[in-house]
Symmetry: C2
Subunit: 403 residues, 2 copies
């Protein structure tokens, strides 16, 4: 399409993002079949929807609710009507520009391919602020860290360690800019950031001209400065419960894996995890104290099998790529120490236990203690001696130490 | 069988338990085909094994290692020979009697049926001390609580709470009498005990005439007094690594479910969990801090899917019986509180968010804010008003509170 029509389409999507709530299925279907420009003209009553279009709409909406498309469209038009007079896409585009931001639409080079997994539920457009020119991290390198707003010191520490560890491995941390775990994840990601490209992305439920929650203004300014702010709602839009719930699907879709660090039994973070699971993205949950209300939700995810237990950055990274058992083994940080008896057969084990530590004894005595015939004892002593687990001196055979 | 032959069989098993190490496959197979009395005579060289018996032995041993039964038996005879002169079953039986204990053999009324799941690996006999007359709890009411010897305060608290909670639900706590988690589980079970029958069972790796570890002597005496001590090795037997490993299979087999409370990356508790899994018994693991070395093992079990995440006594009890989601929901102790917006449809949710808390507004205004047609707003307000989530006054419509 030429520059002018492209400009029109971009302007139309900007307008539609104010007219329609996130995941307004009829609206999204209308754009899918009529394109943004005509969709806007239809949505604002400027253009009537022909029967051909309504049939197409019916086809697309088989993926949405199950009414006749005509009725659904009529209903939607009523729904959109009250907002038509408030439409001001040029003003909104000027506003985001004033904040050094931009509007991304499908087809743009910077449009995140991962959003295609949302199918009809993909956002009409993305309002962005920050270092978006460097490009948004591909889902394969983006991890969503989410959790309680009233997080504990433990949850904050884990969120901080995971974010830092993942950023150091070249990952980008996606979260919701909320208090608690979200804030800790963004903060730690910014602190660990080195390379170009945003180390963290905050997906907002309100317009990017405001900072919500207010207490996070400084942090969100920092994210806008050195990271990336994203919203599907236009400047000026207020954060509503519905927009928060829909925002969570964007967090899950932009990240290759979602990790719940802390969550109460009922928590928005679980909603994000649910979106990730629906998208077929791996979900991780951080274990914690059984006495902590802030871990009841993560333990719930572990119990019902909808999340994998993750205890460190390496295990989270595994969620993104192919599972690497070895890395998993190390990452807890509690790598197993080899023990003297590793790899010994049953008889050698019996013999090892029978060997006295100080004063040596005869092979015959060992045969009694270990419950082995003398020849086997002698053979076993030979094997253990090679590993210096058995040593012979004037007193007889006694226990040695490997290495 | 008559009283005399029964006495002979009992005496023979007592002797065999000293002659053979736990799970000596050839020995167990020999007893299976020849019966304990002849098995002892063969094992001690008093009686030769006929070809017919050797053929039977070969059949049984298909479940064991894969050599010819003749060679295996010859080898075993050499293995047992050094201990023949130490056999003194009457002395051992007198010893256990002196401690107020007894010897249980298969067929006894008190013999735990659950041990049958060990098939050929079932113990030759059980040396018991304590309130065994009341009977050992059936596996369906027995839970194994195991874990680190160097447990943390957190692990001890969880072990104590789980043991107390389970005993109050009529369960019996099975463990290994070791320091740390084992000791805490036994102690808490004894403290919570009310009804008849042992509230806790300590399965020992040494003879019941000794208390190992020494530091637990007082606790083990209390278990022997008000609970139950069990061992498959005879009085005087020393605790060896091999016997500890085999003891773990008895813990797993006697319990309907095994729960690892705390475990390092390498831990004997994981061995017990492994035995439980092999027996097809459910395994639970208690989550903990990702910074605790003592939870690295439990998190490993959760990660590789070999254990279910358990956070309270009710969830552990679920492992024993059919899963009850409701109980699971409650037991974390963090039962979800109903929220104002529970069960509301999308439109009502949008409307609820649009309602001002203080000064009321008109339905037309709400239509703009919520993005809904006026008629739907009025319908929705009607629904919300019923739940008193919306109230109308002179100023117009505003937010109400449920209940």
């Amino acid at each position: 399409m030429n520059a002018e029509s492209s400009r029109q389409a971009r302007r139309a999507r900007a307008a539609l993002s104010r007219l329609m709530e996130p995941t307004d299925w009829v609206g999204l279907a209308l754009v899918a079949v009529a394109g943004p420009v005509d969709a806007l003209r239809i949505a604002t009553g400027e253009l009537a929807a022909g029967t051909a279009l309504q049939d197409e709409l019916a086809g697309v909406l088989d993926r949405g609710p199950g009414k006749g498309s005509g009725a659904l469209l009529a209903e939607a038009l009523q729904r959109w009507a009250p907002r038509v007079k408030d439409l001001a896409p040029d003003r909104d585009l000027a506003t985001i520009a004033r904040f050094g931001g931009a509007l991304l639409v499908p087809g743009d080079e910077l449009w995140p391919p991962a959003l295609a997994d949302l199918q009809l539920g993909a956002p009409l457009c993305l309002w962005v602020r920050g270092s978006f020119q460097a490009g948004i991290a591909p889902a394969g390198r983006a991890v969503a860290l989410v959790g309680s707003r009233d997080s504990t010191g433990y949850g904050n520490a884990v969120a901080g360690d995971l974010a830092a560890g993942l950023v150091q491995q070249g990952c980008c941390i996606v979260s919701g800019g909320a208090y608690g775990i979200d804030a800790q994840a963004h903060r730690s990601a910014l602190a660990a950031a080195e390379g170009p490209g945003p180390a963290t992305v905050a997906v907002m439920a309100c317009g990017l001209d405001r900072y919500y929650p207010a207490g996070n203004e400084e942090l969100l300014r920092a994210v806008a400065d050195r990271g990336l702010l994203i919203a599907e709602v236009p400047p000026g839009a207020a954060p509503t419960r519905w927009r928060f719930l829909q925002r969570n699907r964007l967090i899950a879709a932009l990240a290759g894996a979602t990790v719940v660090v802390e969550a109460r039994w009922r928590s928005g973070a679980l909603n994000t995890a649910h979106h990730a699971a629906e998208l077929g993205r791996p979900v991780g949950a951080v274990p914690g104290s059984v006495y902590s209300a802030n871990s009841a939700g993560t333990h719930r995810l572990l119990r019902d099998g909808s999340a994998v237990c993750v205890t460190g950055a390496a295990e989270v990274a595994e969620l993104l790529g192919p599972v690497d058992a070895a890395a998993g083994a190390e990452n807890g940080g509690w790598q197993a120490q080899p023990a003297d008896h590793d790899g010994l057969g049953v008889e050698d084990l019996l013999l090892l236990d029978a060997l006295p530590v100080r004063r040596g004894v005869t092979a015959e005595r060992l045969a009694v203690v270990a419950g082995l015939p003398v020849p086997r004892v002698l053979a076993g002593l030979g094997r253990l001696e090679i590993g210096s687990l058995a040593v012979q001196d004037a007193t007889g055979w006694r226990r040695g130490r490997r290495g």
